[in-house]
Symmetry: D2
Subunit: 344 residues, 4 copies
């Protein structure tokens, strides 16, 4: 079985393994106060062109979303998100478990737009009984989204503007950020994101690391006491150096971008093969997740050799499926898949 079911099917990039081995016997202080973490922070600040940003390392995505959101909101506030957002549907109510409602906006492609946020915000404050409703307290977006789509610079600037006018921190879930940055049609840089968002994170788990998410806080008012929050929410790794070493490796000389590019290239090859073969795509993704709409018999045929995710039923004879590539995807496997697609 060749797996395209998600982007965490392998261990980690070999250079990370090697670096973990090289540093294994070093004795370091715990909880992210070691020199590897410091170096990694510096690399990331530089990459973000954000010299004053606070950088923290956490273990996984749900934990990171929860920690950031719980840190920002007051008890009567909620997080605005696309209905398809990860926090809205796939984190077992982790946000609610910290006391906060996820205020959902409709979305067909995983993105939300500035006008939607403005409308929701205005509607809240226009309602004379707004005290009986959850107050919007921050805006959560993913880049790329759960559907592989990306925000353009213009879209993010518009969102950022609306958020700042409303006093709503803008938070970006970057669990797959590298794949978004590497997308051929994307005009967004890390520096743009650092400038336009108040807090975001750079995903490692799905992009070369064993695990790890690097939170970047650029808005000064959100920095205070964040380490308390990490500890309380279970994200303060005793051997914090493991996170530092991984992000050091990913960011010291561009490995993060390089492997992100690879994943996107592999994905675009798969996309094109499906399109050429006459299949439609559910979302217009230029990142590492591709969502062809396949006849159910084709799906069964491909399923004998490849694993992929069943995304949703499309109609009585078709389904949307997801093929994921990653930093680890082998070109020969993709080429085999392409052949099999063409042969359908």
């Amino acid at each position: 079985m060749i797996r395209f079911e998600n982007d965490y099917t392998e261990g980690c990039h070999r250079r990370i393994l090697q670096r973990l081995s090289e540093t294994n016997d070093e004795q370091t202080p715990g909880y992210g106060t070691d020199e590897h973490c410091e170096k990694a922070r510096d690399y990331i600040r530089k990459a973000c062109d954000a010299a004053n940003a606070d950088v923290h390392f956490l273990v996984g995505g749900t934990q990171t979303n929860t920690t950031i959101i719980a840190s920002i909101l007051r008890p009567h506030q909620g997080a605005v998100s696309a209905i398809t957002g990860h926090i809205a549907g796939h984190e077992t109510g982790a946000i609610e478990a910290t006391g906060h409602k996820v205020l959902t906006l409709p979305s067909d492609d995983g993105k939300i737009q500035a006008e939607q946020v403005k409308e929701l915000y205005d509607a809240h404050w226009d309602d004379v009984t707004h005290e009986h409703m959850v107050q919007p307290g921050l805006v959560y977006i993913s880049h790329p989204t759960e559907n592989g789509t990306t925000y353009s610079k213009a879209e993010l600037e518009a969102l950022s503007k609306v958020c700042r006018e409303a006093g709503l921190p803008l938070m970006m879930d970057g669990a797959r950020l590298g794949y978004g940055l590497a997308a051929k049609d994307s005009d967004l840089s890390l520096a743009d994101i650092a400038r336009l968002c108040d807090v975001f994170y750079i995903g490692g788990t799905k992009i070369g690391a064993m695990f790890g998410e690097a939170v970047v806080i650029t808005n000064d008012s959100l920095k205070k006491d964040f380490r308390y929050m990490i500890k309380q929410k279970g994200g303060l790794l005793a051997k914090g150096r493991l996170l530092g070493i991984q992000f050091e490796t990913l960011f010291e000389d561009g490995l993060y971008y390089e492997i992100s590019n690879h994943a996107d290239e592999m994905a675009m090859m798969i996309r094109e093969a499906f399109v050429e073969r006459g299949f439609s795509l559910r979302y217009d993704s230029t990142t590492n997740q591709q969502f062809p709409i396949l006849p159910n018999d084709v799906l069964l045929e491909l399923g004998k050799k490849y694993s992929f995710s069943l995304w949703e039923k499309f109609d009585s004879t078709h389904s949307v499926v997801r093929f994921c590539t990653s930093w680890a995807t082998k070109k020969e496997n993709v080429e085999m898949l392409l052949e099999d697609i063409r042969a359908l």
Copy 2:
């Protein structure tokens, strides 16, 4: 600087690194559903002589304590713990953040005794206004404790009996469990613990692994839906195999015990050296943490070469400090320390 400040100053045991490298390219499903996790679960069930136990892998201790406790308690219930318990003082209120009070019992050595639990339980129910107070909902102990001390089999049996009569699940924090099992004067086996506790965990982070805690649930009534809880509390690692591989390595042929023994032996050498030199010990620990009471000038002298933790002020001229050994402690470093102690 030679570090004895805690038991997580190095990476992980070399055999784990090697195994991570060997398995790195395997493609596995996520979230702990892979074969490595399955194997590790089997090894652990066998080691616990608990064929029906549920075994789950989480990343760190605070997360594990929080997930277990939040899973068990109803909203009006609290966790009974020694005042010195980790959940009572060193997890930034993680338990309270899930809505539950930690009900503390006095303890001088980190342990609590059966009679204390019984007394607290009876006092609650004897109070006519008990509905105005937090109801004891489970009992939390650590083995070894924060102070390096261990429960005897008789003590644990007494605790277990009181808890079962009261309907209070007994939970053991085993972040350093190996060091407790390996203690020369301990008569407690993993099987005893599995039989006497309702849920406990086997610490990996401090005993050879990069990270990871293996939760063992033996009480059937506590098993339901535990994976939801892990996910919600941020502990469901995407690449769950990393946990499986580590615990597989630690438990397939006794590595866990072997390295625990080593750490305890190193600790006892340090203990004896301090005692021979005429220093008292704050706690009677036979595990990997040792707590000599040192004159402040001695402390400064040793501090030039070794790092250790300042535990508490003892009197105006003495302090309690903690020396930690671990699976990674090098014998030559301990011997150097012994010489330096003798030379004081």
Copy 3:
């Protein structure tokens, strides 16, 4: 200004005031352990034909919903509700503040149907990644709904059946229960509700009392420790007798039904007047809330003399408004309104 804006514009029924005055100097124990509460519980059990039910008195609706839901759900579970349900939109996230997501179902009239619940439940368990999603843990309905509509006995029986098969407690918000029971076209009795729901409450605040909601728990498995929950959630009134006295007065000889009937009759007169005058109704309500769709100029005209709620925009020239009657609504005021409607 004559107020039809809600059903809590006046104090309380005169007989309650009188009773409060008569009993004022009695000395009673606190927290609902007095004889008035005992009597009121007995009246309510009898009215519900539920001799074994537990009956508790709380102060207000949000508090009551929160207490019941938090008492029932485990942390990874959510409350299924119509998207229009009070808990979903008008309690400032009180349910989320206790850690639970509200899982919403679409509804045009405020009701949800058995098939919807079954579908949502099956969809959850059919999803292979259900552990990443909030598990449905109970079903919340209102009778009458926020839109004035009522469940038929057949509908409630179907809901109850689905819930019991799925192991989901069925909870009814009865903040306006009297007005639902009194609805001319309703075939549901209190005894039916007690038989078909697992827990529900009988609203006092909006039906004759100063304040107060009587929770009736018929499912034995939901009874345990409920008083702890009331206390924790701030609903255990020190002078609990005030609640007992009020419900005693309402239920000792049918006052609750009598005044509910009055309110519904007044509401139906208003409904008919609007319909006769040619206006449509947004919801087919036979209870004390009526929702005519009015031209905006009519709305402004009526607004000079009467207060009512602006419910929602209908189109560029029409709005939905809500007229509420209550136990306190004066017939002469309704008649004046009818004349003014006819004169439009």
Copy 4:
């Protein structure tokens, strides 16, 4: 049975009943936006010499404490309180249920002193691992305390100074505030309290009202969005006017002080009788709660005719009991008690 067991054994002051009756048919808007609430707010602001204070009305004490504390703290912060504080032991973990630890300070008389707060605060920040501990986020005191004792102006000034220097809001639980203000030896006025605390409340439930606590927020930074918090925590009474009317009556011409004085006078008579008869007092209370230490046979003898609370065991033959007076205590009952004490 003549009840001295607590200060909520009767209904409410007759003038309040009368006012509720007079205003019963008025139609008012809901949720505390009516004119009675406005008037009551004005009276209270004036009584506090705090023209800019925000005044809110809630129903009961646990609810009020929870709402205030949850509104102020960030998730990693806790409320500093005497170990004997109401929030620490008698609210079924209501504070923890909102996610916050209660950080307790030892106290023999129910009070905490400025130095204790300073010490705890400094100890937190001096600890290098403070991020692993709950951060002190506010200071909670009661006046009078659970033990009937009161703060002097000098004590409150010292506390206020320490709190302001540390940036810790100082909150006063005033469930029995009137009885504290009326204490013969108290030099604290409402204006002092308003000046020295950041938020406090004026208890109605135990002092003449049926129910109700008036929250006064003098610190501007704590005012924002407080009504959302009241709603979420279940304290926003639909018929908010009931609270307004009660506090209007209590504060329009000094009724609150007058009835507080009465209660304290009755209590001091009881105190003196016990002392004259040779019994010791557990606490030096000059307010409405008195805590004599009685031989157990005396306790049984008095218990035939009077109800009072068993506070704690003193020794094998003595117990501490609590006698409470209130606004409603009848002088003839107290005189009867005095005679019976003298006759012991």
